[in-house]
Subunit: 323 residues, 2 copies
């Protein structure tokens, strides 16, 4: 099954053109690195959700595509900066910018993408788009910075609560999905209720998306040998399954003992087994499903039309996501 | 002699407060890292020039301080990102953010400072400030990215011309000084001619500033400069004295031969001697003085008042700068 309907796909093609058009630069390397980042793919989930949200009101193609491009540029910028940070050697199967050209280029390519995002939006004001402010993009980046830094600060910490985790992924991920919905609703002049339902959908979906993403580190993402890579645990980023297990009466203590020792293959396997036995994976799946239900609850309040079905399709695809 | 007049210093104190007030965050590390960056000092040359420019028109304190804070936040952001990039161990004598907490924090602190800069400006439009657009800040960052990346691309290249060097420092440095002058003039509703003279001063001064900065890598003392001498050459960044020497008929070939071999202490000393003998240092000083004269030419067209004297004072201090 296609992830998006033919109508949404048609709009996403315009977003692709918009992305390429937006990153023109007098510096050929900045431009080619930006194009490489754009062409590395990605599902364009945030633009798709923005476009889909906009379809609930008076659809204005030019504005919707501009907003979608700006949002995706910001997302790509954080991916480039994240590559430097995590020293990820591979991002979406392609060589990451920082491995090809070093930190300098990656940082400035990310900065460049941010500026292009801001520049694209700065032609609009609340007079052009109801409720809109160009500072949305800056605030969105601020949220992501705050979430990412909190995650970094919490590395190897064994006293993180589930609430702290949920707050972190709200800032790191969910608020950008919420913004996608909000921008879509505002640009199409949706009524207050529709805007609220869409924003609430965005928050629930974004949270589910990140829980799922974190779960894939245990279940999905595999190395060349087909084994899960457990990248997060290796770098000290403890996501929901780990946090749940740490807080378990039965398994918490032995897990903490293992986590505080230096990691080798055998100890890692032991850690994973304990997390599974503690119910950490099952709990994460349960919470994921709760957020999915919450996302569905909100879209079910929207008018029953093809765009609601399309949002439902995006949810269904999240559940079946394998990478 | 004080770098700035008492009147400008008074305004700069407000900029300091504005900087601290502007970087509030729910994340304590982002806030403390930003404060550390602010408190590490710096001469606030860009705010000082903006304030000074604004004094030539109808001075509106709140707007002038906001613009100055936004400009300095952007400048600080590029310093934080530059620290990651160059792996500079010391920035202004203090430990750089990335050495204390790793790349991740430095990158997101820089991003955070950019967002705060954009957010601060997004409350203004051309209705509040004649000719102003919030996108100025994004465009300024874009210019710096383009200059920095061009410089990185040119590392170890022995075919860079003086014109390419001048273009690079225009984007990397001079355009931000030009913007400081332009913002100051626009916020005070200066007439067209005054605005033009100030902008032209900014471009000439900014160019002189960077030539001087690059010269200090050859002439400045390590303890005062806070970074190793000949740092640029060591990392393959060839600035004006090197570029001049490479293009010299008499010394070019032997210099290129040395530069293309691996660098050791002895070879470095040899390189420095050749650059001196070629007249590369003298030529750079000559060009520096030409840009200083050009900067003076433009301010001499401004009304003859204390603010013109103050700008002249900033120029004089540049000439005597040792760090």
């Amino acid at each position: 099954m296609e992830l998006f309907s033919a109508e949404i796909l048609q709009e996403l093609h315009k977003v692709e053109r918009g992305l390429i058009d937006s990153i023109k630069s007098k510096n050929s390397l900045l431009e080619s690195e930006s194009i490489r980042m754009i062409n590395a793919g990605g599902k364009r989930l945030r633009p798709a959700i923005l476009i889909n949200s906009a379809k609930f009101g008076q659809y204005d193609e030019q504005k919707v595509i501009d907003l979608s491009v700006a949002l995706e540029l910001l997302h790509l910028a954080t991916l480039v900066h994240d590559d430097v940070v995590d020293e990820a050697e591979v991002r979406r199967g392609d060589k990451s910018t920082h491995k090809l050209y070093g930190n300098k280029i990656a940082i400035f390519t990310g900065d460049f993408l941010v500026t292009k995002s801001v520049l694209l939006l700065s032609k609009y004001s609340h007079k052009d788009i109801k409720g809109f402010s160009p500072k949305y993009i800056a605030r969105a980046l601020k949220n992501i910075c705050e979430g990412e830094v909190e995650q970094y600060q919490s590395r190897f910490k064994i006293d993180v609560t589930i609430n702290q985790y949920l707050k972190r992924i709200k800032y790191k991920t969910a608020l950008l999905f919420t913004l996608a919905c909000q921008l879509g609703a505002e640009v199409s002049d949706c009524d207050k209720k529709t805007t609220k339902y869409l924003k609430n959908f965005g928050m629930a979906f974004g949270t589910a998306f990140q829980i799922q993403d974190d779960l894939l580190d245990f279940q999905g993402k595999k190395d060349k040998l087909g084994k899960p890579i457990f990248h997060d645990i290796k770098v000290g980023v403890y996501t929901l399954p780990v946090i749940y297990a740490i807080n378990s009466n039965e398994y918490g203590e032995s897990l903490v003992n293992l986590l505080t020792e230096s990691l080798n293959e055998e100890r890692l396997n032991h850690i994973i087994k304990i997390i599974e036995k503690s119910g950490g994976i099952d709990y994460s799946i349960k919470l994921l499903n709760e957020y999915i239900k919450r996302a569905e609850k909100w879209i079910n309040k929207l008018p029953n039309n093809e765009y609601r079905d399309s949002l439902q399709g995006i949810i269904t695809n999240l559940v079946n996501r394998e990478n």
